[in-house]
Point group: C2
Chain length 390, copies 2
């Protein structure tokens, strides 16, 4: 076992990138390897297989591609949609809006159901929307990183299956995979896209995704070619199949070091001492502790009361500044105490709240005590800023 | 200074990924950082500035984007070309063919000038082609990684300026930037695309590129929007400008760890004890030594006699197997000796040759003696395989 220890640094408690363990960082510093080497091929192949486990998607086709989470939207738009397709976009923040913009850029037509800041579309709103038009696909942002609102994906997929069974279900799991329960096959999700730097616990730079057999069939029966080259599954599918069959193939050089890091983290997530079910439970527990701690300090969540019961993320919390306080009163005081929180992002409330990430090793490894630390430091920072609980 | 040493491994002497230095690998294992952190912002900003130095392109606009080298083709096609534009593609191997395929995927029309295996298009062929049709752009693969053929970019740009001055010059520098001399501004290159895992000396996962003022003007005067979302400069340009101005901006989470690695390597390349001019000279010297060593062993280059004088890469060498020998006779014996060479890639000669990479630390750091080692091991492997020099 290596004795590699990462350098001292501020505790990174934003909704991604998140704290990364020493063993994963050491894997990211793996000696340079040929992407076709017999040593690397199984690392890539096993990583693809482990993605299926994390998404509980035994029937799906996984993809590991060099890029940011954002690239996953393009992959959906390029491979699953065609020009003039109608798409229903369920929006709880910045990332729903952007996904709609991406879809429109490729010539499909997004119709948004936009929830007010801190809320989520109701099941009846979604049902009504699905009945109004025949949609090729519905997109759901599982957790919108700008608000921390959690969608009830299982309930929504049930509505879709009942009202519009031919409609594909596309799930943006960037801020949920690894920290929120997902059963891709059982729930009937057709395309799940995510990234490396959140619940998966590695540095940013990988676009990760899985496609259901129905999604692959939709892709295979396109009447127009995919509207991109780097984004085309025509190019990537043979590569993913080859590596899973333990033979190399080439379209673009895979990001070998990030794939070593991914492999290391996925091994821990799927085969480590903490089971996947326990991992999700630990995220729920930590989230409750953070949200309770916030409440004890007299602070409000960005989430409206109607969403607070079940509609908030377990991997992050969006917190309103106390009346009369702003980012510059609090965040620098946290940084001085060695803790990094995220600023607000939703266009209509950007300056009114901050964001705390509580994912991955920060909540799964109890020895770190990260949640206790941040709540303690937040109390100190608020006191120094002159805040008094009402 | 850290005492981090990468794990023992086979010497990776393929035309990318290449051997990476310990300090760069340690930077790739940097603790997780917020992409908007005041500590990270200058690392991104300085990296953009240093890209201009490596390309000798003071007037250009640099881009650092999460993705493979291949993504650079899409960036060119999406932002500089529009549907039905004509493009002249100068092809010396696999990568020229693929670039043409990418261009066609976006609805532009590539016309290829294809050289026979191991040769390059002549200047007169290029001039004739440029006179036959008005091309929006000409693309040049500086070094085609599949053949190791080097194009005389300076000479070609002179022809373009003389015969068709409005035509944009797009240079695929994936296998040349950092190991071949490039003067982007002086030569009049409009778009230069490359990747992280070759002459730049870091792990794969970054699409790097620079656009000339003329390219940015072409982009700004498009009549149709860019044909992509993740690939759109409309999205990336404000981000790059912001980081260079030392403020954060967001479109997609940048690959923070790879950018730390990039920063570390670019510092060495642009400000280290070996100047950029000396770096190119060291690549030329090493290349001569490899090519001379190959000749001494009685082996032939893939490059035809007409290309050997000036038309071969300084960062790699493509070598024909001796008559009667094949990959399985030689490459496993090299691997047993701790050296990884690359297999052939050109569709018409795949099984007839192997590829040696000699870039970056392997040739710039003389203490490593990598060139001596590989020539020695190759001699041993050939002898074990029963080869006798004719």
């Amino acid at each position: 076992m290596s004795s590699f220890k990462q350098a001292d640094h501020k505790l990174l408690m934003i909704p991604g990138p998140i704290e990364v363990s020493d063993d994963v960082l050491l894997a990211n510093a793996h000696p340079s390897m040929a992407h076709v080497s017999p040593d690397f091929v199984p690392v890539f192949g096993e990583s693809l297989e482990m993605l299926r486990k994390v998404a509980d998607a035994p029937s799906s086709q996984p993809f590991i591609i060099s890029g940011s989470g954002t690239l996953g939207w393009d992959l959906a738009a390029v491979n699953l949609l065609e020009k003039d397709d109608d798409v229903l976009v369920l929006t709880t923040g910045y990332f729903g809006d952007s996904f709609a913009e991406c879809i429109a850029m490729y010539g499909a037509h997004p119709t948004q159901v936009v929830a007010p800041v801190g809320s989520r579309p109701s099941e009846s709103e979604i049902e009504i929307a699905l009945k109004q038009k025949k949609y090729k696909a519905v997109t759901i942002t599982h957790v919108d990183t700008s608000t921390g609102i959690l969608m009830d994906v299982e309930a929504i997929t049930k509505i879709v299956k009942r009202v519009s069974p031919d409609t594909l279900v596309i799930l943006d799991g960037v801020c949920s995979v690894g920290s929120e329960e997902i059963h891709m096959d059982a729930w009937g999700i057709d395309y799940l896209l995510f990234a490396s730097q959140k619940g998966i616990g590695i540095p940013p730079g990988l676009s990760l995704s899985l496609a259901s057999p129905r999604a692959m069939k939709t892709f295979a029966s396109r009447t127009t070619p995919p509207a991109g080259f780097y984004t085309s599954w025509t190019k990537w599918l043979p590569v993913m199949k080859a590596y899973e069959a333990r033979t190399p193939a080439y379209f673009a050089t895979p990001p070998t070091n990030l794939i070593y890091a991914l492999h290391t983290s996925l091994k821990t997530i799927t085969e480590g001492p903490v089971s996947l079910a326990q991992r999700f439970e630990k995220h729920r527990e930590a989230s409750q502790r953070v949200k309770k701690g916030i409440e004890n300090l007299g602070l409000e969540q960005l989430a409206q009361p109607d969403s607070r019961q079940n509609g908030v993320a377990n991997g992050m919390t969006a917190v309103r500044y106390p009346q009369g306080f702003k980012a510059s009163d609090i965040l620098p005081k946290m940084a001085q105490r060695g803790v990094v929180f995220g600023a607000g992002l939703h266009k209509d409330a950007k300056d009114e709240y901050f964001r705390i990430g509580h994912m991955g090793v920060s909540v799964v490894d109890p020895a770190r005590r990260d949640v206790d630390i941040i709540l303690q430091k937040l109390e100190e920072a608020l006191a120094e800023a002159g805040y008094q609980k009402q």
